[in-house]
């Protein structure tokens, strides 16, 4: 086990009743690496991402962050949410539907975690929030209510909120799927800027062009399994499995159809 490895996912499985949505998925993420999970709807990629911080507790398998097992005690039993909280604090998560807290200002959405989880003083937490909001180009919206922002702006606030955790890894769950087309690029640009800083991230996305540009490595999933994985350009340009070829072809068709 090299020290170079940040996140390890080992034989992850998840069943809902008799439906197996994840079937023994394994992969690892190096420090600073960007990994994209792609695949058709229902392929298990979002479930896989949500299993990493136990928002969707896996039925089997193990997840290690920096060598430490996530979500399970040493006796193998699943931790309570309270026990898991410090571990989740190390994993930043950006949701498809943002999930900003509507009763707090934009600033407080970002400053809450440092204040309440990491015990940062109010003034410092506010300063940090402003710094992060400038990073996503939204410092001027600090005192607004989140629901007054556009979808793209809300998602950028959500990214700032995740950064405020000072997480070891960032998880993006289809961060642009809920956005109007003209708002997609502002969010993708912010993610690109973060990628350029060498942050470790796992991205679930439908934006193949974006995945090619940002990700070092791509995993293609279907039916709860990893079908193909490798270097981003190789996987996308020279798919070996018929299933991935078919998937990529259907996307191209879609793009052509949309003009």
């Amino acid at each position: 086990m090299s020290n170079d490895i940040l996140l390890e996912v080992e034989n992850l499985s998840k069943s809902f009743g008799s439906l197996k949505v994840l079937n023994s998925v394994s992969f690892s993420l190096r420090r600073g690496e960007r990994l994209a999970l792609i695949g058709p709807s229902g392929s298990g990629k979002s479930t896989c991402l949500r299993a990493i911080n136990y928002l969707e507790p896996p039925s089997e398998g193990e997840i290690r962050l920096d060598g430490r097992v996530i979500g399970r005690r040493s006796d193998g039993k699943q931790m309570s949410d309270r026990e898991m909280a410090p571990q989740r604090a190390e994993i930043g998560m950006v949701f498809q539907h943002f999930h900003l807290w509507p009763h707090l200002t934009v600033r407080d959405n970002v400053a809450l975690q440092p204040r309440k989880v990491r015990g940062v003083k109010d003034a410092d937490a506010n300063k940090l929030a402003l710094t992060l909001l400038s990073k996503v180009h939204l410092a001027h919206k600090a005192d607004e209510a989140p629901q007054r922002l556009s979808g793209g702006q809300q998602q950028r606030v959500a990214i700032a909120r995740a950064l405020a955790q000072q997480p070891k890894v960032l998880l993006f769950d289809e961060p642009t799927s809920a956005l109007d087309p003209e708002l997609v690029s502002e969010v993708l640009n912010v993610i690109k800027e973060l990628a350029a800083e060498g942050r470790a991230m796992v991205l679930v996305t439908h934006e193949i062009a974006f995945a090619r540009e940002v990700a070092d490595r791509i995993i293609f999933m279907d039916g709860g399994r990893i079908i193909e994985e490798g270097d981003a350009k190789t996987v996308l340009d020279h798919p070996t499995s018929p299933r991935l070829r078919q998937f990529l072809a259907s996307l191209t068709l879609g793009e052509n159809a949309h003009g």
Partner: protein
């Protein structure tokens, strides 16, 4: 008895209104505190025993007529040596009955906060209790407010029940005056107006608070 009838009437209704307000405010405070605490327990723990006890309390008080429960508290307890004043029995009785109503109001308020809100809270590393306090509670209270307002109004009207255990509120005083003067229509009419004024005041304050708390 040298006093004029209008003086007697306004005195009786005013004194009654004070007791009505006292009983309503006291029992509302108990009902809300109890409802909030129990709803929080229901949301925060999976302890079956706690859930069972709370369910038992809610079902018991919801399915026994209020009057029966008030009699039990006032006359029943007196019979075994615990003598409550009629006003205390009224406040405690309506408060306990109201608690059972408020548990469900608050719980459904908390439940109506979208799952994503809690997921986001969990994902940044808030413990469940902190997440409840900072994320679910403020939003859930806002969602529960209209129902709590309706409940407060019906509680205010229900205070007329405690006339039956001789708490000297509006209806009790009105009936006494009717017995003395036989001015039935006038006295009960005035009593109705007193209730109308009180309930309107409650409805307006609830609206005011709702508007204040509205998400911009």
């Amino acid at each position: 008895m040298g006093e004029t009838f209008p003086a007697l009437l306004s005195q009786a209704l005013l004194a009654g209104a004070l007791v009505t307000v006292k009983v309503a405010a006291g029992s509302l405070a108990i009902a809300i505190a109890l409802g909030l605490a129990l709803a929080a327990i229901l949301v925060l723990t999976r302890n079956r025993f706690a859930h069972g006890l709370i369910r038992l309390y809610v079902e018991a008080l919801r399915n026994v007529p209020s009057l029966t429960f008030l009699f039990l508290l006032y006359f029943g307890l007196a019979a075994v040596g615990v003598k409550l004043s009629s006003t205390v029995a009224a406040i405690a009785g309506l408060g306990l009955i109201g608690g059972a109503v408020c548990v469900d109001i608050f719980r459904s308020g908390f439940r109506s906060v979208p799952d994503g809100q809690c997921e986001a809270a969990a994902s940044v590393g808030l413990s469940p209790v902190t997440a409840f306090r900072l994320i679910v509670l403020p939003q859930g209270l806002r969602l529960a407010l209209p129902s709590i307002g309706n409940y407060a109004i019906s509680l205010l009207k229900d205070t007329s029940l405690v006339a039956a255990i001789a708490a000297p509120e509006v209806m009790f005083n009105a009936r006494q005056l009717v017995n003395e003067t036989f001015q039935t229509a006038l006295i009960y009419g005035c009593a109705a107006v007193v209730y109308l004024v009180l309930t309107t005041a409650v409805a307006q304050s609830v609206l005011l608070v709702e508007r204040r708390l509205e998400l911009r």
